[in-house]
Amino acid sequence: MDTLILEPSLYTVKAVLIMDNDGERLYAKYYDDTYPTVKEQKAFEKNIFNKTHRTDSEIALLEGLTVVYKSNIDLYFYVIGSSHENELMLMSVLNCLFDSLSQMLRKNVEKRALLENMEGLFLAIDEIVDGGLEEQQLSKIEIFCNIINVFIINFDQFKASLLNKSINLYNFYNNIIF
């Protein structure tokens, strides 16, 4: 097809997307100008979602970009890179994102839990990808533990107070955090 030699660069990731099962954007971050306006971005997301939400096949080529993806319950995770990019590198970013989220949400990776921990997601993606560069990767999990610890500590405090007042634990947790 082409004898293009890759410019050696650390800029691997073009975008990271998370959508719900209606194809609504929950999180989207574009790291370059492939889709400069919100309108183009939304159109692209719609296209991706339509092409991928029915199949669970991990990887696809769309609009000349390599898209690696993963779905879990009602969430769809996408990492997008150039079609010349090493697919396995993109995959490792996606896995890292998913693993850290599942650790943070304690294996409960679904829309509701994610929305309740939105700031955790923001921080996680910031740690994983910085301006299109893969950042931290595997080593980030340690860093991440810090955030998770904060959550767990908070949670335990609530639990203590909740038991006294015998209120539905789940509800209380929601109301306090959000």
């Binding site: 890759l6 410019e7 050696p8 595997l138």
Partner: protein
């Protein structure tokens, strides 16, 4: 409010989005609590999350409101809540481009990045670098250097990554951190190593020697990080390409050794690097192909995909190398991931034998409806390539394509199919009738105007020459009745071609034209009236000039000339010959092989190129009044690739003059050249009128100087000439780092290679879609014929290519392709000679011991005929 949402959620039982109905103004209103004391970390955190969420949804924040929120947020630095602080960093990064005066947080961030909390330091560095500009960078330089070599991997990584972002902005400052980056590269942490390597490469990429050294060092010492290995492989393959190093070079050995790495990522990167090397032989490919073959049976979809995609690329250049994998690929046809299945099948189509084609086609049709349009296009391209390889299979393919054409699909997909059918028709005369029939059927129900007009054009071109042209008329006239304006107009043009070519159809066509003249659209009426009148004349020459072979001028050029003409009223009629000619569609021959994505670009750019030159040259006062630009040649290199100065020349031909544009590049960073000009010594009676020097030539910034030459008027046959060229300039030594030149310099010169002007520079390519008609149109008034023996040429193909490149004319009627196993061939060439005279050349070639060539030249000007014959001999 929030409680309400939750209750609703529980009722509906699904997790709806608490952020769904956020109002920007309400959130900004809420942000006021940032100013409350004591700070409530949880609420503030929630509001920051909302702000970032809004930014993320693409909400637009005005500068004032963003600045206000930003300033309120800065107060949150007083809180020691970890998550809140980190969200602050994130907000700073997100708002860095929208808010004003973001630099006020510099001191807080600097404090955090040097503080004791490791959790803060990494993000603080990244946030700080986002808001820092070149002048501020100096102030934090010391901290950055420390951070790069920090023991904590996240801090070091953050610093390295941020430095990399800063390279774009202030290369010179970051360059001073090379030693620190070097130290970080030997870190134990894999990410630090990767980022350090990336930074080091970017700092040194202009210095090939340093990159080579760096590679040598790391290949010897070995790295831990698979990412770093991937990076090294990329650097190595780029270096290999630049140095055009052979495959015995240590760099290649390194890449090959990576095929045995324990990380799949590295193995794949190495295999893909080898596959993408431009001059790779089958033997060198073998190890790469065998690892890819292993990947084909991996349980990971991404790995299978990567492997098949790369094998697909190998199959384009070395189909035989992939044959070994055919069995694995056949297993992948049933893969649950349709992308993988499609790639596998297209690869098989490229490598498979003629006998397997039928079976494969059946398998494709079973799942073609399930794959995305992108992949359907890939399939169509594979079929197109297959048709060229096995022309005998065209009936199977044609059937398959027509079935695909009937299915639903987007424009790109349909266009790929139509292009493919058209290229089959053009390649293979046997398939013409079936192909045209399928296309006719398609336009009966086609929603894409572009495709309908394209097919109508095709029908007009090919239809009249089939045994029964009358059957196409019905399809075409149906379009006139049913379609939109653009399609109707195209249908009228197609009809006219039938009328012009087939005398027995002419009366019926005239009747149909008459009806078209009452069309509701003016373009359709105009065309019908025009063709009606031309056809009624019943003159072959008129038909040829106005129906078969349209205008060959460039459209923007025509527009400009007409505009010019209306500005300066004159008695003289407008002269078509002053309009620059369209550069003949050079890409046309290639499009059927090249993939869609790449073929689209050159088509758009090619005609524009000459117009750009025209504008550039018109801006130089010395070159006023030369008339329109007739032709610009492809650049000719006048120096070796790796010399101190790189010079290439573009020859611009005008009516009676030529301008030579020398694009010079200075590759020495310690020199500044001034008053650069290229002195030219002609061998013939060409006269150099003017030199326009380039005022200065900085390191690696190309600049152009020009020479204006008058062509000899008294001897019109003197078309070829050799110029010996010398570049003269004033050298001023300068500091390689700052670019500051010394005060005084000295004159110097540099001898360039000779520049040749040949007959091809005087002829512009023009495509005559109907060569026979054009041949008759010019007539035999100035016809001359001569026979030559080409003793050195062994094959017809070679002879044809030599003639085309020598004369620089456009081959017509696909006569540039020599049928296999034939001893004779006729080549048709068309062009326009400088001054606007049409030239047509018919060359009959016969293969005996050498090649014998009988050349017949026709033109509207006698001199031109002489020039061509003289130059051939």
């Amino acid at each position: 409010m929030i409680k309400k949402f939750d209750k609703k959620d529980e009722e509906s039982g699904s997790g709806s989005n608490p952020f769904q109905h956020l109002e920007k103004s309400a959130v900004l209103q809420e942000a006021r609590i940032f100013n409350e004391t004591p700070i409530n970390p949880r609420r503030c955190l929630h509001i920051l999350t909302k702000i970032i969420y809004l930014l993320n949804q693409g909400e637009h924040f005005g500068t004032t409101e963003a600045t206000e929120a930003f300033f309120a947020m800065t107060r949150l630095f007083q809180s020691n809540d970890q998550t809140l602080r980190r969200m602050c960093y994130l907000t700073i990064k997100e708002m860095a481009n929208i808010s004003e005066d973001v630099i006020i947080v510099t001191s807080s961030l600097t404090k955090d990045m040097t503080g004791k909390e490791d959790v803060y330091r990494g993000p603080a560095i990244r946030a700080l670098c986002r808001i820092t500009d070149t002048t501020m960078l100096q102030a934090i330089e010391r901290y950055m250097k420390q951070a790069i070599v920090d023991k904590v991997p996240s801090v070091s990584s953050s610093a390295l990554v941020s430095s990399l972002h800063m390279v774009k902005m202030s290369f010179d400052v970051v360059k001073r951190w090379v030693n620190e980056a070097q130290e970080a590269a030997s870190s134990d942490n894999i990410m630090v190593q990767y980022h350090a390597l990336g930074l080091l490469y970017h700092l040194r990429k202009n210095d090939r020697l340093a990159v080579t050294k760096m590679l040598n060092k790391f290949t010897k010492s070995g790295l831990k990080s698979p990412f770093a290995y991937c990076m090294m492989i990329r650097i190595a393959s780029k270096l290999l390409e630049e140095t055009e190093g052979g495959h015995d070079s240590p760099l290649f050995d390194f890449i090959e050794s990576c095929l045995r790495n324990k990380h799949e990522m590295v193995v794949y990167e190495a295999a893909s690097a080898i596959v993408h090397m431009p001059k790779c032989t089958a033997r060198e490919l073998a190890p790469a192909v065998s690892v890819l073959q292993l990947f084909c049976s991996s349980p990971k979809a991404a790995l299978r995909y990567a492997a098949v995609r790369t094998l697909n690329k190998v199959a384009m250049k070395h189909p035989s190398a992939v044959t070994a994998c055919n069995l694995d690929l056949e297993n992948l046809i049933t893969d649950s991931n349709r992308s993988i299945a499609t790639l596998a099948i297209t690869t098989l189509l490229k490598t498979g034998s003629e006998s397997s084609v039928d079976r494969l086609m059946k398998q494709i049709s079973s799942f073609v409806s399930e794959i995305s349009d992108e992949f359907k296009v890939v399939v169509v391209q594979a079929i197109s390539a297959l048709c060229q390889k096995y022309p005998r299979k065209h009936s199977v393919m044609m059937n398959f394509l027509s079935n695909m054409l009937r299915d639903d699909g987007g424009f790109e997909y349909k266009r790929a199919i139509v292009d493919c059918i058209i290229s089959i028709i053009e390649e293979n005369p046997e398939s013409k009738e079936t192909g045209l029939a399928h296309l006719c059927e398609f336009i009966e129900d086609c929603e894409h105007t572009v495709l309908a007009t394209k097919i109508l054009h095709m029908l007009g071109k090919e239809g009249p020459r089939t045994p029964t042209p009358s059957k196409y008329i019905r399809f075409i006239f149906n379009r006139v009745v049913l379609e939109s304006e653009a399609v109707r107009a195209a249908a009228v043009s197609a009809l006219a071609k039938f009328g012009a070519q087939n005398d027995d159809l002419l009366p019926s066509v005239l009747v149909l034209m008459q009806r078209c003249m009452m069309d509701s659209d003016d373009e359709v009426r105009d065309r019908a009236t025009f063709y009606m009148n031309v056809l009624q004349q019943k003159q072959k020459a008129l038909n040829a000039a106005y129906i078969f072979n349209g205008l060959s001028v460039s459209v923007p050029g025509l527009e400009k000339s007409l505009h010019q003409y209306t500005l300066e009223p004159s008695e003289k009629p407008f002269d078509m010959k002053t309009v620059p000619l369209a550069t003949a569609p050079i890409t046309e021959q290639k499009t059927e092989i090249a993939p869609m994505a790449t073929s689209k670009l050159p088509e758009k750019l090619a005609p524009a190129r000459q117009d750009i030159y025209q504008e550039q040259l018109a801006a130089i006062p010395e070159f006023k009044g030369l008339g329109p630009l007739f032709k610009s040649s492809e650049p000719v290199q006048l120096t070796e690739a790796e010399t101190e100065y790189v010079v290439r020349c573009i020859k611009h031909t005008f009516g009676n003059h030529m301008i030579f544009q020398f694009d010079c590049t200075n590759t020495l960073n310690d020199q500044l050249l001034q008053r650069v000009q290229v002195q030219m010594e002609p061998s013939e009676s060409y006269e150099v009128l003017h030199y326009v020097p380039a005022p200065s030539l900085h390191y690696s910034q190309p600049n152009s100087c020009y020479s204006l030459v008058r062509l000899p008027e008294d001897d019109p046959t003197a078309v070829s000439c050799t110029f010996s060229c010398t570049m003269k300039y004033l050298v001023r030594d300068c500091d390689p780092n700052t670019g500051e030149p010394d005060d005084d310099g000295y004159d110097d010169e540099y001898v360039l290679e000779d520049l040749e002007v040949t007959v091809a520079d005087h002829i512009q390519k023009v495509l005559k879609p109907n060569f026979g008609a054009a041949w008759e149109e010019i007539g035999d008034e100035f016809e001359k014929e001569e026979t030559f023996a080409l003793a050195t040429v062994r094959t017809l193909d070679e002879a044809v290519n030599n003639i085309i490149s020598f004369l620089g004319m456009q081959p017509c009627e696909r006569s540039d392709k020599v049928a296999e196993n034939k001893n004779s061939h006729v080549l048709f060439l068309a062009g326009v000679f400088r001054g606007g005279h049409d030239v047509l050349v018919r060359a009959r070639l016969a293969l005996a011991d050498g090649v014998t060539m009988q050349v017949t030249v026709r033109s509207t000007d006698e001199n031109v005929v002489d020039v061509i014959l003289a130059s051939v001999g």
